[in-house]
């Protein structure tokens, strides 16, 4: 295919649709007079385009506008409902948050107060030790007494040894 034919075919549709500048359209027209191949191509384009007319338009059912306006009313009602729901939900969530915090604080305070009133029972070991705590205090004294007694013995022995000497 010659470059001129290539160019003409690239603008053939625009030519058929009347969308070319007058000078360009003239150039295409002059070429078509001389070139049977491009003329055949043009006829195929025209005929295939005309076939699209064979598809009939859809008949629109009557009452479309009434159905549409009914849908608009539904849309407005839905929007108003959504707006109300949104504000109601917001109020409920704020209220729930406040109540939750109050409940938490009350519970925490209750637990704190409860632990203050009731003495925690001692473990068995602690209980056994606590029975003898006074004795344990004496144990230290007893230890000291043992040391004191040992020192006394030592001094007596030393004195005895000195006297004997």
């Amino acid at each position: 295919m010659s470059p001129v034919c290539q160019w003409v075919r690239s603008v053939l549709v625009a030519y058929l649709d009347g969308e070319l500048k007058p000078s360009t359209a003239d150039a295409v027209r002059r070429h078509l007079v001389r070139c049977e191949a491009c003329r055949a191509q043009m006829r195929l384009l025209q005929e295939s385009w005309r076939l699209l007319d064979d598809v009939p338009p859809v008949p629109v059912r009557s009452g479309f506008t009434q159905r549409m306006m009914a849908r608009v009313v539904e849309e407005k009602e839905l929007s108003a409902f959504a707006a109300r729901l949104g504000s109601r939900r917001r109020r409920r969530s704020v209220l729930a948050s406040v109540l939750g915090m109050a409940a938490g604080l009350a519970f925490g305070f209750a637990v704190y107060a409860w632990t203050g009133i009731v003495e925690k029972p001692a473990s068995p070991v602690e209980w056994e030790v606590s029975r003898h705590v006074s004795f344990l205090e004496d144990v230290e004294l007893l230890d000291e007494m043992a040391v004191i007694q040992a020192i006394d013995r030592l001094e007596r022995d030393t004195d005895t040894a000195g006297n004997g000497a």
């Binding site: 690239s10 603008v11 053939l12 549709v13 625009a14 649709d17 969308e19 006829r43 195929l44 384009l45 005929e47 295939s48 385009w49 005309r50 076939l51 699209l52 064979d54 598809v55 009939p56 338009p57 859809v58 008949p59 629109v60 059912r61 479309f64 506008t65 159905r67 549409m68 306006m69 849908r71 608009v72 849309e75």
Partner: protein, 219 residues
């Protein structure tokens, strides 16, 4: 009403589009924007035929086309607060229509339970019907039905933008500039789209052109 039309005229003069100041639908949309619901009703009444018809070219199902047309007008309804008359009302309306149609086509493709267009033909009476090969149709009607199916198929097989350009050019009589405004591209791009689209259509329908099935034979 006079105030609305004056506002439209002012906006178009500002944009250098004096002709569009006379766009009656823009005036209706501006009235609707100010709260006049009857103006919206009139917009629907004036334009629903074109919207349903355009969608039908993509969807080939009259009932679904009407549902989708309602979706188009709902989008127009919802956009009333942000609407600005920067172009003809029909340009904006058809842009929404093309988007809604293409979304529906994509959903159909994703559903994968679409009935092949080979099996379904819409005879334009609002119902879908399966053509019965045993039915006693006159030969000519059968050829016509087959041709219509084939043409719909050929359009449906085009890439999306080519489909939109073909449908707007053929069935709405839009110029290249108007199509460019609707689909948001340059006039040069539309020229290229239509050149490729019509070449593809020619190839798809070659058999019907050469054998003259359903049409007068081309010599």
């Amino acid at each position: 009403m006079a105030k609305a039309i004056a506002a439209v005229a002012a906006s178009y003069e500002q944009a250098g589009r004096r002709g569009a100041a006379a766009d009656y639908d823009v005036g209706l949309m501006l009235r609707f924007q100010e709260g006049d619901e009857l103006a919206f009703q009139e917009l629907v009444q004036r334009n629903h035929g074109r919207v349903v018809g355009l969608i039908y070219r993509f969807i080939s199902d009259a009932s679904e086309a009407e549902d989708l047309a309602q979706e188009v007008f709902l989008r127009i309804y919802r956009a009333r607060k942000t609407y600005k008359p920067t172009a003809k009302f029909s340009t904006w309306m058809f842009r929404i229509t093309a988007n809604v149609s293409l979304n529906a086509l994509r959903s159909r493709a994703n559903r994968k339970d679409e009935v092949s267009i080979d099996q379904v033909t819409d005879f334009g009476d609002g119902s879908r019907a399966m053509p019965d090969p045993e039915a006693e149709m006159p030969d000519h009607d059968l050829r016509q039905a087959e041709l219509q199916t084939k043409v719909r198929e050929a359009i449906a097989e085009l890439p999306e933008k080519q489909q939109v350009a073909v449908v707007l050019n053929k069935y709405e009589g839009m110029s290249y500039a108007e199509i460019a405004g609707t689909i948001g591209c340059s006039t040069m791009a539309v020229k290229s789209l239509l050149a490729r689209a019509r070449d593809n259509l020619k190839d798809s329908l070659l058999l019907y052109i050469r054998t003259g099935r359903g049409r007068q034979r081309v010599c």
